[in-house]
């Protein structure tokens, strides 16, 4: 770890998500996540960056409790994640997967309403309050007009917004997103980041998002984690991570350049 050691809080119970020595392998002895320890503080808007295949998606699945690490442990609000009942965890932690193909033409509303399932009993349909919550979640991402449309007819970006709305309908403390910006156009990318910032400012929501779009990070994000071949290579505020010498190691590419312009950091690589 290069730029570590800038822990803002001395009290370990303060982190919303804390990972200690996480390791994970799909095949024996090929660690996709190799000894990662990190802390995601309450109310932080954080990004996870890294090259393709560096283990970003696997790492956030471990953090979201969708997979169990082979070694190490994840703590959520100081509690071991694996000890928290699934349904209770789903009320505090929402996960937005990368776009998955939808086969059945569920309406966007039906999809967002499933975000209420951690709150509804198994044999009960969602009630009027749940419907209102779902509509509000759709409105928050600016997709209220999509409610009655079948998701199979939506564009990739629209579907992504619906997936974010579903996560918001869970009323989570923490949002974990796997490349939510990938299918979004310029305007909607910016809008998504604005929404995440608003949620942080108003409700203190914490978010961790995997992204390849490095232009989004500075100054919008509080914290950036950079992963390289399964290990945490750097972490810190965007200004500290988005630097030539750090990024060229993160991406194994000496041509990566990061420059500040009008208060933002722009990143590119020589072609």
């Amino acid at each position: 770890m290069m730029a570590s050691a800038s822990f803002t809080s001395p009290n370990p119970a303060d982190a919303l998500i804390e990972a200690r020595g996480l390791r994970f392998a799909y095949e024996a002895d090929r660690w996709v996540v190799d000894d990662v320890s990190l802390r995601l503080e309450h109310g932080a808007l954080a990004a996870l960056i890294g090259a393709n295949g560096s283990g970003k998606s696997t790492l956030i699945r471990l953090l979201a409790g969708l997979r169990s690490p082979d070694a190490g442990e994840v703590f959520f609000s100081g509690q071991p994640l694996k000890g928290i009942p699934r349904k209770r965890l789903a009320r505090s932690l929402a996960y937005v997967p990368q776009i998955n193909p939808m086969i059945f033409p569920f309406t966007a509303m039906e999809v967002v309403l499933t975000g209420r399932s951690p709150y509804t009993p198994r044999f009960r349909f969602e009630n009027r309050f749940d419907v209102e919550q779902a509509l509000e979640a759709l409105a928050t991402v600016g997709a209220a007009h999509l409610a009655p449309r079948p998701v199979t007819e939506l564009s990739g970006g629209e579907r992504q917004l619906v997936a974010v709305a579903r996560a918001l309908a869970q009323e989570p403390e923490c949002l974990i997103l796997d490349e939510p910006a990938a299918a979004l156009d310029l305007k909607h990318r910016a809008a998504l980041i604005r929404i995440l910032r608003q949620l942080r400012d108003r409700q203190g929501m914490t978010a961790l998002m995997v992204t390849h779009d490095l232009q989004l990070l500075d100054p919008a994000f509080d914290r950036v984690f950079a992963i390289h071949r399964g290990s945490l290579l750097a972490e810190g505020p965007p200004g500290k991570v988005l630097r030539d010498e750090v990024l060229s190691r993160v991406y194994d590419d000496p041509k990566v350049r990061a420059r500040k312009l009008e208060g933002r950091t722009f990143v590119w690589s020589g072609t």
């Binding site: 979201a64 969708l66 349904k87 997967p97 939808m102 419907v131 509509l135 009655p148």
Partner: protein, 360 residues
Amino acid sequence: MDASRQVPEGAGSSQESNASSPQRPGNASPVAPRNLVRPLILVLLFLAASTLVSLWVGYRLLDLSLLREDETARSLFFQLRLPRVVLGGILGASLGAVGACLQAFFRNPLAEPFTLGVSGGGTLGASVAIALGWGINLAGVPMVFLAAFAGSAAAVLVVYWLSRTGDVVMPGTLLLAGVVVNLIASAGVILIQYIADYSRALQILRWTIGTIDVVGFDRIWRMLILLIPGWAILLAITRDLHLLAMGEESAASLGVNVRRCERLVYIASSLIVGVAVAEGGTIAFVGLIIPHAVRLVLGQDVRLVLPCSFLVGAGFLMLADALARTALPSGELPVGAVTAVIGGITFLGLLRRQRRFSAI
């Protein structure tokens, strides 16, 4: 099935008010909460109508006055026609519900017991039992049922094992594996028929086509010993299936225990299909078209589609069997052939109508 299409347009999409939540006039949200009451009434009406029709028609039309006076007519009705209609209902309900379950679980609109090889495996298991003359019961459950259950379970496991790589079930491989397992199973059945003695071979042949001759209620009670637990499992995991139909990972993040749900789907579907196949032979396409028809009328919500497929499947197979009993001036048709023809043609129609929605 046919009746369910005569339902007024939009009956599924306009479930505004309901008994459980009071309507607030002037403040109706664009999408009102779901409930099961209206669709259930609709579907029960269809079921009642098809029960009456299929009790009415047959070798002779039902004559109520004769039924009151004539002992023979009464015994024919209660020992032959009534059990047969009930059996048709049970089989149709089972296949319809399992079809809805498998389609949601595998996120594949072409999944059903027949296309996934589950019926094939059950047929092979039951054939072995028939050929070996296992007429005995084990704790009240005929060996044929258990053998068919084992065959179905083996088929599900093989198909699923072949089509799953890591976290992904490949839809193409799933169906291909199902077809191949079916082929292997039917080759096995043919081999058994070839080796088995003449009368048993004929018994297997007649049974594989899918007929629902039954005398009395004894077999039906024995079936229910295994079927009711299977049905109960399906109903218990309906909400999980609804979430899984939208994606495994998102379902997991909403608190669904995917591994446990997977095991329950295996157990329930092989239990139900095994018993259905052991008693009724291969009755194709019911599990495929019934959920599709229900979705066309009621929408995609699996929590509606699965229970309604159960009831509509029951009505549909009763009607199909009534047709099988009466189509020929003398004798009757195997109901499996009737459902394959009706089901196949209806399915093509559904496919065409639904083409613009999704990538089938």
